[in-house]
């Protein structure tokens, strides 16, 4: 297990270095940043000073090295838009996105998996067929459309829930949470539904397909032939085998949730990192964009590595080095 872990960490570091290179290259493609930082009528002398202060006079690989070294300590320089440290900006915005993604992920799990199980166990029932149909709608409707529909129905027509913002938040250290106030919780409902809908339907359909596949296997047939109860067969035997591939997809999709959060945050004016990123794109604020890219990639890598580790704890066949007495002769 340790060897596996070390291998995975080395791979992750390589991935992160590659991402950092791409993020770093962005600075090159955006033209000369000095142009947008100095007054229009600045002299060549003043430009050179700014260039030197930003380290832009150094060779490329030195700049890359510096970028990496500083990124590793969380320092992504100053935002070109409002000259505040990028790390501070992201830290301010991170809790909003994290809470939104967390709620959406939990929602998609606790609703999607049971629905998937239900539709797999009763594939011909009316409810299951209806759910299958609705899930097609959920999977094919663009999320911004569902978001706008949700606003129309629940905010405009019914007036039950707020259509934008995070509501009141409470600061706990540097973390600002909306979980502790009524308005914060209410504000979470619509955005998290919009964000989770795609995941939820995807999970439901995936669990359904996998579980129906597992229910056809020989070991389920043999479990039935031994007279085990339906509960033991469906949940103890079938569900665990079903969840193995589901975990992988969910892990990958968790990254997708963070990416999709950009759209949700835009629709609901949610003060998260996605909204920050969109502002940065509009302004050509490369440090913020680069930092966002690196941070999101980092989250992806951490999730995927955790998924691999989780995998091993569910599927004993992947636990290579605790094989025990191997006898019997393979």
């Amino acid at each position: 297990m340790l060897g596996f872990l070390i291998r995975r960490i080395i791979q992750s570091v390589i991935v992160m270095l590659a991402v950092a290179l791409i993020a770093f290259m962005m600075f090159r493609f955006m033209g000369d940043p000095v142009n947008s930082m100095v007054p229009e009528h600045a002299t060549e002398q003043e430009r050179a000073e700014v260039r030197e202060r930003l380290g832009l006079d150094q060779p490329l690989f030195v700049q890359y090295g510096r970028f990496i070294a500083r990124a590793a300590t969380g320092d992504f320089g100053l935002s070109w838009r409002n000259a505040r440290p990028v790390s501070t900006l992201l830290a301010e915005r991170f809790p909003a996105t994290a809470e939104l993604v967390l709620v959406a992920a939990v929602l998609s799990l606790v609703v999607g998996i049971p629905l998937g199980i239900y539709t797999a166990l009763r594939p011909h029932s009316f409810n299951a067929q209806t759910l299958q149909f609705l899930s097609l709608v959920g999977i094919s409707l663009p999320t911004f459309v569902t978001g706008i529909l949700l606003i129309l129905v629940f905010s405009v027509w019914l007036g039950w829930l707020p259509s934008f913002g995070r509501g009141e938040v409470i600061d706990i250290g540097w973390w600002s949470t909306g979980f502790l106030t009524a308005s914060g919780l209410k504000a979470l409902i619509l955005p998290s539904i919009m964000l989770c809908l795609f995941q939820l339907t995807l999970l439901m359909r995936l669990v359904r397909a996998e579980m129906m596949e597992v229910l056809r296997t020989d070991y389920i047939k043999f479990a039935k032939a031994r007279g085990l109860s339906d509960r033991a067969i469906n949940f103890r035997h079938a569900l665990r085998n079903t969840l193995i591939p589901v975990i992988t997809i969910f892990g990958l999709q968790l990254g997708g949730l963070i990416a999709f959060a950009i759209i949700t945050e835009t629709v609901f004016q949610w003060p998260g990192m996605g909204a920050l990123f969109i502002q940065a794109v509009n302004f050509g604020d490369v440090p913020v964009m680069a930092a966002y890219l690196v941070l999101v990639s980092f989250i992806f890598v951490v999730i995927n590595t955790s998924v691999d580790l989780l995998y091993a704890s569910i599927d004993p066949r992947l636990r290579v080095d605790d094989a025990g007495p191997a006898g019997g002769g393979h």
């Binding site: 032939a225 004993p316 006898g327």
Partner: protein, 323 residues
Amino acid sequence: MTLLQVENLTVEFPSRRGTLTAIEDVCLTVAPGEILGMVGESGAGKSMTGAAIIGLIEPPGRIARGEIRLEGERIDNLDREAMRRVRGRRIGAIFQDPLTSLNPVLTVGEQLIETIQTHLKLSRSAARERAIDWLRRVGIPAPEKRVDTYPHQYSGGMRQRVVIALALCAEPRLIIADEPTTALDVSVQAQIIALLRKLCKETGASVILVTHDMGVIAETADRVAVMYAGRVIEVGTVADVLRAPRHPYTAGLMASIPRIGEKPDILPQIDGSMPRLNARPDGCAFNPRCPKRMDICTRLRPELTPDAHGDVACHLFSKEPAT
């Protein structure tokens, strides 16, 4: 008293293009402690008969006619829950492929303990003791340790031993072994068959042994039932059926077993192939391939009739003169 009695068992599969009859009017009896071999080509209905007896016919298939009685009690019309309690406790089953019969994510012990506790009122520790004991009985070395390992840590032969332990651990009276050795190495096959026979002797269980392998039947079974196109066409003691087969199909089957020492240019075979479910000929289903076909064979279905050497469903042996 017979342990199992199957009478006129008919299994049908409704489909869009009419009803398909998988097995038709199958009659069988199994005495306590007896090993009944069941042979026939793929699709003859051997496995379907087994599935019907343990009540695991895949929907939309259903028992359309007939009765199955276990120790005198009808089991073909039990409700789901009652039938579930019969499975594993009174009728055990062993399937073809030991590599896929065990759940990969549960330890062998968990699967055994769960099965034991489903059928017997035992504490977890007592069930674990029993699980270890069963692993020992099926010849797993160091069962105290192996009980906590996963199926992938066993070889194919060892896994089939575990499957046997799982099928037998609640001591059912009848075991349905559906090609238990087909997926195994030849060297392991004999061991597994010998083990199955020994354990059934010890527990007094009867076995229905479904197989393609005439050698296994000859060595293991007491009686043998030959199936063709969904029907039992000949039943008798192994000595009778294998040495002096009477139904022309059985005779052809025996003739097509190559003998050691002879090197025929062409392996003997029965011409043609078994009819599909939806294209069974009238009369005797074997008549298009039968070398001894008579007029009546294309018109009237021969019924399984007993005589001194067992039962055979063939007009050649009908008592009444063919009309």
